[in-house]
């Protein structure tokens, strides 16, 4: 089995071969094929959105996706959550020597396919190889540029009392799939990451114009972290209705077994939206019409205060504070 060697990152013939054989044919990008030091492009009119994200997921191949797909979705979804239409990506690979070329090819295939799915082009790239033990198989950093359509203005600061909180689908799929795969917890099937590009889903809300206030993708820290950020940025309180939050049954079971609150678990294919109350029905309908939003739901509302507080209303009429989680989620027995 051929593996990546330190020499593949040495700037010589092996590196040229790696780029020519593994990256270029898969990424189908005229900008990359030109092999210049920078990609040149004319920006469309309007405001530009720009973001970057580093991906170090373990394992690099997981049920429902891989680090390549994740690297595209993470950046595309951050642009989408900024109200932007994503256009271009860069991708930098830090490869630990010894990574099988077959695995690298699979991941680049997946990255390329996901970019096509999202309608974005990888226009710049870089490859480095580090000695064994200096990285964990493969790290990918992507950056992305998008343009914000006229009339769209979303920000974590825009939530107002009376607004409605929507979620585009079931929460917790990605984080539980990763935890179960990484810790080898003995689960069999049924837990798959939701990793998906959400720019088409968020674009479906652009017609709401000024009634679309906040978009946020609840990644690390889950919905708990995302909603706490929004509540703090906007100086409002947010109330969730526990029963209304969609959670797939196997994820709920895994969370009960491992002592995890699904609201604190990462998602990579879900979006939260805060919209004006009069636009809630239209937003929900638009999402439910989309293949990635079939399980969309209204999950809560924005309250006056106390500023920065997120609370969950239970089926029993009681409430509890939903704090952001402390750190990485670990399986617990008690």
């Amino acid at each position: 089995m051929s593996v990546v060697l330190l020499a593949h990152g040495g700037g010589g013939r092996l590196m040229a071969d790696l780029i020519r054989e593994v990256f270029l044919p898969r990424l189908e990008s005229p900008e990359l094929a030109r092999a210049d030091d920078s990609a040149l492009f004319t920006p469309p009119p309007g405001r530009l959105a720009f973001t970057t994200d580093a991906f170090v997921v373990d394992p690099i191949l997981f049920p429902g996706g891989d680090i390549g797909r994740l690297a595209v979705c993470g950046t595309v979804n951050d642009l989408a959550a900024g109200g932007a239409v994503p256009l271009y990506l860069s991708a930098a690979f830090v490869i630990e020597e010894g990574l099988p070329l077959e695995v690298l090819s699979t991941i680049v295939d997946s990255l390329a396919a996901t970019a096509r799915e999202a309608g974005v082009r990888v226009v710049a790239g870089d490859t480095k190889v580090v000695p064994h033990g200096k990285a964990d198989q493969l790290f990918i950093t992507t950056a992305g540029v998008g343009c914000v359509p006229e009339g769209v203005s979303v920000s974590g600061h825009h939530a107002r009392p009376g607004d409605v909180v929507l979620c585009s689908g079931a929460l917790g799929d990605h984080g539980m799939a990763i935890m179960v795969a990484r810790e080898n917890l003995g689960f069999v099937g049924h837990l798959e990451s939701d990793v998906a590009p959400l720019n088409d889903l968020t674009a479906a809300l652009h017609s709401l114009g000024p009634d679309l206030h906040v978009l946020r993708d609840p990644t690390r820290g889950g919905a708990a972290a995302a909603l706490n950020e929004i509540a703090a940025q906007s100086g409002v309180a947010i109330q969730l209705h526990e029963e209304a939050v969609p959670i797939h049954a196997p994820v709920r079971v895994a969370c009960e077994l491992l002592g995890t609150d699904p609201l604190t678990v990462a998602n990579e294919g879900k979006m939260l939206a805060v919209v004006a109350p009069e636009a809630a029905d239209a937003a929900l309908a638009a999402w439910r019409d989309h293949p990635l939003g079939r399980e969309a739901a209204v999950i809560g509302e924005v309250l006056e205060g106390p500023a920065g507080r997120v609370q969950v209303r239970t089926a029993f009429g009681t409430t509890r504070i939903l704090d952001r989680p402390l750190g990485e989620q670990l399986p617990r027995i008690c």
């Binding site: 917890l185 069999v188 049924h190 837990l191 895994a254 009960e256 077994l257 027995i333 008690c334």
Partner: protein, 82 residues
Amino acid sequence: MCLAVPMQVKRVEGHDAVVEQAGAALNIRTDLLDEVAAGDYVLVHAGYAIQRVDEDEARETLALLRMFGIDTQTGQTTDATG
């Protein structure tokens, strides 16, 4: 102090078993139970079945709960039993 979830036994082989609940399947050990059969519900803690769930007892507890639920609607009194 201890998280445990009832799950249904699907297969048993020696002290290894596969259990399932609401679409989540898990490999567990059955060393702590003398007899386990497919179809049983067991309480799972730290990867081990620690007890069989007695479904008759569960039904009795639920019947009592239903009485409490009905009471809320009719305003009658129910005594705690046991």
